[in-house]
Amino acid sequence: MQLSREQLLDAYRRMRLIREFEDTVHAEFEAGNIPGFVHLYAGEEACAVGFCLHLDDRDRIASTHRGHGHCIAKGCDVEGMMLEIFGKAGGLCGGKGGSMHIADLEKGMMGANGIVGGGPPLVCGAALAAKTLGTGGVAIAFVGDGGSNQGTTLESYNLARVWNLPAIFVIEDNGYAESTSSRWACAGSQVGRAQGFGMPGVEVDGFDFFAVWEAAREAIERARAGDGPSLVHVRFMRYYGHFEGDAQTYRAPDEVARLKAERDPLMLFRRRVSEAGLLEETQLDEIDGECRARVATALERAKAAPWPGEDELVTDVYASY
């Protein structure tokens, strides 16, 4: 299946935006400017974008604690995100959620989640709503390899199958659940588990945008056609630690350097589209510059913005009380 030039440009732009964003947040965190915890998505861009490129505003996604990439891929406002991560007024969640709960329901982004395995049941619900209301939408749960072992995730597979929901479970296996290897922690196989619940499952190389995009297309089309849920096991690795500040001593010393040199998804994408003569290097360089500038502006604004007022403490606890 071919992507159009517009789609290719769109894909690259989203991935580059994520990369710039995460690298910037990494630097800012190191400089001591960001409160709380952040969990960065650099290296994993192909997955979020490979799936979200197929989606529109009626579709919903739920993410993990590592949610910036999904947020950007789903079209959330980058400046709003930066403000939110800095905890400033005007953030995507008014400064009330921060990195771990970053969300925009208007864009169908049901939030990063501070609870491992929190997403899949929510996605079953969103899929149920789409099915009941006849919107034609699908719902995607991005789950980590760690989250794949939570009871909530497995129960959600079962529920999605027996209720025949338009849901997709994407296991983002980046090799480690915190410091623990996914190979050790996950019994059996992700695809085998899906099949155990009567769902189709495939495994893809998460560094390869096109492989992800293709697997995503099939799963999403299946869901939209009313043929129920599926699972996609995406294998890749994260560049940064589980959280910012993680010494990552559990990794091989040159692991990340090798990944960046050999498996970087943006590099592989560029190589592929250039070789196929689909896009010019200069176009891609331009996008690089645009994204860099956008993120820089967002950062500037976030640093300058005020804190939320103290009266915000007790707003939006309820719709009415």
């Binding site: 969640c93 009330k96 049901m110 609870i115 929510l122 027996v162 009415s320």
Partner: protein, 338 residues
Amino acid sequence: MAKKTYRQAINEALRQEMERDPRVVLMGEDVAGGMGSPGEDDAWGGPLGVTKGLMPIFGRERVLDTPISESAFIGAAVGAAASGLRPVAELMFVDFMGVCFDQIFNQGAKLRYMFGGKAKVPMVIRTMYGAGFRAASQHSQCLYSLFTHIPGLKVALPSNAYEAKGLLIQAIRDDDPVIFFEHKAMYDDEAEVPDEPYAIPFGEANVAREGDDVAIIALGRMVNLALEAAGQLEGEGISCAVVDPRTTSPLDTETLLEVVEECGRVVIVDEAHPRCSMARDIAAVIAEEAFDALEAPVRTVTAPHAPVPFSPALEDAYIPSTEKIAAAVRAVAGHPGG
């Protein structure tokens, strides 16, 4: 006006709201029953028949049986509520909250706040509570204080059939997550219940009986025991007001304090365990805000700090009784004035 049971009143509330709003859906274990089984469809209508008759009317698209997967389907109720449906999920026994509490207190309760007001979770979780069925420790608890503790949740405790229909209709129409507590021993209790739909606002306590010597604040089923005790005490010359908060979150402290200030003496009746209970919560509010009006210490009548026992003799001793309530009132009434 027709007399209906607590069970009928709840069923009617669900049916009328489902008729009015196609976004209202029910989900839970055996809420219809018989799913995939060879025998009768709608075999159960819930473990105590509360939702019977709804699936034949609304179909399995709107009355969804679930596998035994609370964390999945309670979480799905949250996600569905945030995505345009108005689900009424059933947590069969509140004692089961352990397997899905994250979905309730970390997801459902907090989405609106964490997302800066951009999410809405108009979900109701109906759940059974209370002792008296000899169902023992894991099927008899009154855990409403745990939910009341969580900002973002609302908690309703209807004390009779009239209250049940009105509070459930309000819960379904409310845009916040509501935990709706049904006392399992009350399902056959009758009251006059209008045929038409009506909503009782949250955060408005009901002064079920007027009196000026001692205020009895009671929760859920205990309201009825308090009324019985008050009738008895009237004959002894002690005039009791009985107040039913109706909802513990929001809590109508204004009315509670008003009645306490008029009486100067108060007894709080709560079937739950005493530590970190609603009884202690309300007592603290009174101590902090009505201290000068008090003529006696605040008394609470609760279960003991123990799991619910199985043996009928033990369970009967466990639950607050009319006699215990009356004794507490006499003690408080007899306390020398402050």
